[in-house]
Amino acid sequence: MKNKDSRYDLFSPPEGHEARFSMKLHHRMQSSRPQNLWLRRLTAMGIAASVLLAALFVRWNEFGGGDGLSGQWTQQTAALKQSFIRQWERIEKYDSPESKKIIEDNFRQWEKLQADLEKLQKEFRENNNRAVLNAMLQNLKMQNELLINMHDQLNKIEKQARHEKSVHQS
């Protein structure tokens, strides 16, 4: 165990210590003042520049990395596309020949819609017109409608197949 007393300075400083300390302090302040001011200025400017850069970065992202589309829009369309793809994956459970035909035919239409959406996004990057944005929304609406209609058709076919099976069994 350490002796607690050894941690304290129990000796008094030599005479004239206060005056020497004041002089040293004054001298240091005089010599360091301009340097400190510039440092402070640079720091403040750095902070301001950082804020500006961060703002630009946010703004840049908001526009989707400078491609003319809002970041929110890009995110939403990407999310929607993922959702559409997930729906296509779920559709794989329908494996009868007629269901497969329906899925294939609808998939061709969906691919066309997707290709058109990509064209529209490119067009929007070029001219930034709101009318193109409306067209993109319309395209997404169509994609959604297509999937709903296809689900209805598949359910109907499956129901019909079940009915036929039960009729044949009876």
């Binding site: 520049a49 526009f63 329906i102 239409q109 058109d116 319309q138 395209n139 209609n149 036929e164």
Partner: protein
Amino acid sequence: MKRVFINLKLKMVVLALMIVSGIRAQTHEVSKTVIKKFYKVPENGKLKISADFARIHIHTGSGDSLGIKITVRVKSDKRSTADQYLNGITYSVKQSGNTFYIENYQSGSASNYFYNIGVFKNRYVEYESVYEITMPASFDLHIDADYSVLKINDLYGKLYADMDYGRILAGNLQNSGNRIEGDYMTRNRIEMLRGGEINSDFSDFDIDLSFYLKIQSDYSKFHLNHAKTVVFEGDFSHLDAERIKSLYVDSDYARFRVKRLYKLKMQGDFNHLTVERLPSTAQYYDLKGEYGEYVIRNPDRVSFVYHLTGDYSQAQIMDQSITGERTGYYLNNDAKIRFRFDIDFGKLIIK
């Protein structure tokens, strides 16, 4: 020095905050008339317009002059961008023989570096050019205009319109050789389309009267009031009509609802047809396809013979349930209507 620095810092922070929060002072709208011209024209002329993002109003009459007025409107949240758009487009009217061409060239914003890299790109720009045109109704009209609206009263000449994402609002299109192309054309309204073709996927049309109409549009919706002959070749499309004299269909996954239908020849799979009231003067229905569903309602006061073939189909004809091949009739007086159904895995109801 200190004060200057504080001001600079303040300005930077305010600028940053403005950019972050997307604060904008206001929306700026600028417009100017770029062309105003009149020409003396022959009767059998042709007008060709090439313009995107346009609002084209055409007023036809019996005169012999062509009047063109074009106004450009730009709305943006930045005055400089609006001006840039406004000045970046040039319009021209050219004449070659009896054909007049109205074209525009968009130089875009290539000169603005910041605009191109996208950092200072605006949230939106609304740009449109408004065409106000007067011309003889006998003129042919050729329009190539995406994202545009065409408004025209009557036309005796041919209309050829290629308008992706556009719209047509028309009065009487009296020519038999009209052609409308362009995908995603919504809320189109035509009072009369005497004859022509519509090749527009993902679109919808409301047509009051047509004598001959060929529809080659996938995933589209059509509402017809009265039509004499309709040739329908659109997959996944809908047709809703009050009265059609002859309907020829070669489509898959299409849905038809016709209130009164007199002649029908249909082939294709997964189609759905409803005839609300079978007219007593109907002539024949010839249906062929797989997985179709056909409902013919209210045949009470008519007479018909039918011939049904196909596998695994369910049929209900009047009060009879029928499976397999069958020929029969339903008579009120002399048999008039001939039905021939060749349907596999389908459903047929005549009741």
